[in-house]
């Protein structure tokens, strides 16, 4: 699997022989759409095209390996907005945006929004 995130809302991915882009489209403060665009190459032969279509079973809203991610993030979002009159903060790994040599941290999420707020003038 190869995943390349391009700030702020594009993910370019390769999973086996499927190649695709995911685009996050914000709709409101608590809603977004995820647009999946799969593609191949113009000179793919029929066999490769079929292989890409078959392996597309792995990804997308019914994907064998992507359902878990979507569901976990949906539940995390529900948890984050559980208190209607409070703000939720993501404090795993501290409250800063420093680099770490492990991934047991939400530093990347905090850093994303820190820069996002800066660029958006929020």
């Amino acid at each position: 699997v190869v995943m390349q995130t391009i700030w702020p809302n594009l993910i370019v991915q390769q999973q086996s022989n499927t190649i695709a882009m995911r685009q996050l489209v914000a709709r409101s403060v608590d809603e977004f759409e995820l647009h999946w665009t799969y593609f191949g190459y113009a000179d793919d032969d029929a066999e490769m095209r079929l292989r890409r279509l078959r392996q597309a079973n792995l990804m997308g809203p019914a994907g064998l390996v992507s359902i878990d991610d979507s569901e976990v993030m949906r539940l995390a979002q529900l948890g984050a907005r559980a208190g209607h009159d409070r703000d939720a903060i993501l404090e795993m790994g501290g409250a800063g945006v420093e680099d770490t040599d492990h991934i047991v941290t939400e530093s990347a999420i905090r850093a994303f929004y820190q820069y996002y707020r800066e660029v958006m003038g929020l």
Binding site: E33, Y38, L53, R54, A56, N57, G60, P61, A62, G63, L64, I67, D68, S70, E71, V72, R74, L75
Partner: protein, 169 residues
């Protein structure tokens, strides 16, 4: 599929198939999925059946990409295995409502049918939502003394899927 998904409407005779028996097949389909009885669901398909779930947008544009593409009952069984043993998702209940069942063609001993579907999904602790609406374009065959699907395509109308498609359409 393209010809049966849009606004076109055609009807042929049921014979030699029996309308009530075909209706029973669809009812069993809904009952099996909504009961979470995936073994019973699989048993409604012949071994070399195809099962596809695809957006109306892709069908209309002639694009082959499907969110579920099973080219055999074995591939369907793999999906069931994932649903039952590996995938994580919030507990939910579905109700498949299937109506406007129509025979559209006979070919080589098989019956082509179309039908409307609406699937209501209730995720635990949440309100029921009308998650999917669309149309089936199917092919049915008689094997021994019962009917089974040899081809089933669920074309859902909205390009948007509410987060995940867990229970098959």
């Amino acid at each position: 599929v393209t010809s049966t998904v849009g606004t076109s409407f055609r009807r042929t005779s049921w014979a030699p198939f029996d309308a009530d028996e075909v209706r029973d097949l669809y009812d069993d389909y809904a009952l099996a999925l909504d009961a979470g009885d995936y073994a019973a669901w699989l048993a409604l398909f012949v071994p070399d059946a195809s099962y596809t779930v695809i957006s109306r947008e892709n069908v209309e544009r002639g694009l082959p990409l499907a969110v579920i593409r099973c080219e055999s009952r074995g591939m369907m069984a793999d999906r069931v295995d994932a649903l039952e043993s590996t995938q994580f998702y919030a507990r939910r209940f579905t109700r498949h409502m299937i109506s406007a069942l129509c025979p559209v063609a006979h070919e080589a001993g098989t019956l082509e049918t179309t039908a409307n579907f609406v699937v209501a999904e209730t995720i635990i602790d949440e309100a029921t939502q009308l998650a999917w609406a669309g149309r089936y374009a199917d092919r049915i065959v008689r094997v021994d003394d019962r009917l089974q699907f040899i081809e089933k395509t669920a074309v859902y109308d909205s390009a948007m899927v509410p987060t995940s498609l867990i229970v098959p359409l």
